[in-house]
Symmetry: C2
Subunit: 521 residues, 2 copies
């Protein structure tokens, strides 16, 4: 019996659980068959499984990994051992990019050792964070796991715990017996044990939700530990396969209904216009200004994301071309959002946007964006109501992570009225090289103008955050629209240069400079 | 007229071509319609288009890029401006990984500015390479382009040329007029002009093949340049769409036929075996040795790739598990090669393996590999004869690039005889948790044993290069096989540690160390 029973969530894993070899082998035999069969069945199921293994017993985590690889069909397991060694490409993107890029597709299992809980605890210990800062990190974790669960992912989390005395003994013994199984860093857990314990408890408590619960496992006896984890995996997989996809959460509170018919789009002054000669002058001067600003900003490690939404024929393409002409082509990519590939369809809908995020010093311009979820997917019924309803929150969180990384999110809605749209469709039909842009669907969509108006209204009002506000652009006059967009982009870059991009000691910039230095070696 | 006519391939682009504005606009009108229609048609075609734009007129390349983006449908163009700023993840992988990762899928167009020709010329100028070293680089380029062309890719290459006097004038003027369009590095072309010219000619000449020809375009007049490029793209696309996929190259020389029935596999002594107690001893000792060696090697930036092939039930999985147990799990990934995704199917068959290559300090173990092309795909008829026949050469080139990067390629064929296979199938059928491994197909495949034997023979003899030799493992006795593999892996790592991994001033290692340092900051 390692220690006396004491207060704390982890005390349940200090009881001295152990299992005799005979019993272990007996129980394991059946369990392995079941695990394999369940895994085999889940290959064609419509969900992915994410198994998170973390804890103060790092050698135990690795042992467990090997056991799981032996018992399950490793061909369908993607293993990621993530103890804080991040690449430049990862450091230069929002923090959760490193996890998003590793999401398993439906039908597959992702096995994560360390990962986000480790990063959080380790970072907090490093930076001596208080609970407030730790909580901010936990918020992201909570949100990430909820988003996965709502998308159907089976999230299983295991915390392997060793009482401190046992941990110390274990590390010493392991080092002596077969040096190669222990790393220097494994000892860290011991040094910071008591301090870390407080944070661990906080993390476990706050992220222990019914749909992504923690299983706290005593790791003193490897047989008990392996059996406990394998059994929980088997149990959860079976339940999930038998019960099918979880029922969508029925909202218990009605969604707010509009009282009047006032829409945010009605506030856009579509009469705004610009004389051709003023346009030419301003275009030239703004493009020059943008070119200069963007160079300066890129030198300082500036990255950003722009999303262009708007009615068909509102002039997104032409506006984007006026932008890109003034931007260094090597640092800017334009993404036309088309139908998702099967690798994309096999994951959460935001995955295809996460994978496109730029590194420091680069920008991506999206011609249509993740807002498709609450526009076309909502109106055309491609997304279920609970899916697009929760998307507002998911998008706000997504954009907040970009902004936290120091990557501004610029969002434009190019607004025109139905008459102007019709005029442009007709003009397109007459211009030979624009004909291809026009399909019958375009005309059909015009009938749904009111539905789309409501969807745009909801989108703008619900995602118009202070950190990533919408800019509504009057686009009945193309010249006016282009100048407005150019001016807004210039202003946002200036604000960045005066704010986050100004400090000489800015850590991120330093990081960036170093990165550039290395590449030139 | 810029200069007098002089010797050299590029002289054709110093004739002073230019086009009047009126004529330009007239010709452009029709061309734009045609370009769009062709591009639209090619979306559903079974080939991708790669447009390579490079030359001494870099501002011209960027201008052209913008023109093409305006004239074509940019939604189906993926643009990559690659002038030698590589990320850590790119530097730590074989050189061509940076191009493979950017291959467009079929139906799409990739527009590459700079890219491999620029890298070659720029690198050669930097390192003051002689023609021999330059030729080695050109070999890889030649091979890469041939491989793409044979896979159906339409490869269009443009060299934008400015006579030196014009180039100088152009840069000065551009700088004065609108500073933001010229970069410091654009001047480089001028400084090294004469020296670079020799290399450029050599590159153009050696990579100017009938199926991926260069179009040398005078860039003095932007209208002439844009028109010349757009017209060639239109012309090539039309021809390709009209004529369909190019006819497979009929071999003009018969493939060598075997004289006797001697197969390389017959040389494997299937009687080799190992006593259990010796096995346990050796396993323990070899795993310890491997653990130590792999740690040391990883510290020095060692990366490697292992490919396991063998008959069904030859024991690949069990052998791999014995390996991974002794390797640090965070640095080793096991890839079970399954059915390709649609993103993979839309590209050359090697793409799915290129995308899995490890960074420095990491290893990937492939359970089945790119050799599927010349084994199952050959025997089952999934690949056409000309496809699998050219695969030997493609694979040899692929592996040579890995080895050049300093990434050893370890290849194992686990050999058993048909009787042993049957015994194992029957045993599997009786072991509950191994049943899933067995399908009817497995038994059907047994009828094709002689075909597979011939395929294995051809594979081993044709890809048994000195830099990436095959190791044939007698696997009727699993213990013997596992020990043999472990020993081979140890020996190969030792050889690396004594050879390429030994020098203290080793550039790659230095690079790696720096990379690790940065990550820990």
């Amino acid at each position: 019996m390692p220690t006396a029973y004491r207060a704390g969530l982890l005390a349940e894993a200090e009881l001295g659980h152990s299992i005799e070899k005979d019993e272990y082998e007996k129980r394991l035999d059946g369990l392995r068959v079941e695990l394999l069969n369940l895994q085999y069945d889940s290959r064609s199921a419509d969900f992915s499984t994410m198994i998170l293994v973390v804890g103060d017993d790092r050698p135990g985590c690795i042992d467990l990994l090997h056991a799981l690889h032996e018992w399950m069909d490793a061909r369908y397991i993607e293993t990621h051992v993530l103890y804080g060694q991040w690449s430049e490409e990862e450091i230069e993107r929002p923090v959760f990019w490193r996890y998003w890029r590793r999401l398993p597709p439906r039908g597959r299992t992702g096995l994560f050792l360390g990962a986000w809980p480790f990063q959080l605890i380790d970072g907090a210990l490093d930076k001596k964070l208080g609970t407030l800062e730790l909580d901010a990190g936990i918020d992201h974790v909570e949100h990430f796991e909820r988003l996965l669960v709502q998308d159907g992912t089976l999230v299983l989390k295991f915390w392997l715990h060793l009482p401190p005395a046992v941990l110390k003994k274990r590390l010493k013994k392991a080092k002596k017996k077969s040096e190669w199984r222990v790393e220097e860093s494994d000892w860290r857990g011991l040094d910071d044990y008591e301090e870390g314990l407080q944070m661990v408890e906080r993390l476990l408590r706050r992220t222990n939700t019914p749909n992504s619960p923690w299983t706290i496992v005593e790791s003193t006896d490897h047989r008990y530990r392996n059996l406990a984890v394998a059994q929980q995996i088997s149990h959860a997989l079976r339940l999930r396969l038998e019960s099918g996809a979880p029922a969508p959460e029925a909202p218990t509170v009605a969604a707010p209904e509009p009282i009047d018919e006032q829409l945010v789009l009605d506030r856009v002054d579509l009469g705004a216009s610009l004389e051709p000669k003023h346009y030419d002058q301003q275009l030239d001067s703004l493009q020059g200004r943008l070119a200069e600003l963007s160079r300066k900003a890129i030198d300082r490690g500036f990255s950003c994301v722009m999303a262009f939404e708007g009615w068909d024929a509102a002039g997104k393409g032409g506006t984007i071309r006026r932008l890109t002409r003034a931007l260094p082509a090597q640092n800017v990519r334009v993404m036309r959002v088309a139908a998702p590939t099967d690798e994309e369809k096999a994951r959460h809908y935001l995955w295809r946007f996460w994978r496109q995020l730029p590194r420091d010093g680069n920008a991506v311009i999206f011609d249509r964006s993740w807002y498709g979820r609450v526009l076309v997917e909502r109106v055309e019924g491609f997304a279920k109501e609970e899916e697009w309803r929760r998307a507002y929150e998911e998008i706000n969180e997504f954009e907040s992570q970009l902004c936290e990384h120091g990557m501004p999110v610029l969002k434009f809605w190019l607004h025109i009225d139905p008459d102007e749209q019709l005029r442009r469709f007709e003009a397109r039909a007459k211009t030979p090289y624009k004909k291809y842009k026009l399909t019958e669907e375009d005309f059909r969509n015009r009938e749904k103008w009111p539905d789309y108006s409501q969807a745009v209204h909801d989108m703008v009002t619900r995602t118009n955050t202070s950190y990533a506000p919408w800019k509504l652009i009057a686009a009945n006059d193309k010249r006016h629209a282009r100048i407005e967009v150019l001016r807004t982009v210039c202003e946002r870059i200036e604000a960045w240069l005066d704010g986050p991009g100004s400090g000489k000691s800015r850590k991120k910039r330093k990081k960036h400079k170093k990165g550039r230095k290395r590449q030139q070696d």
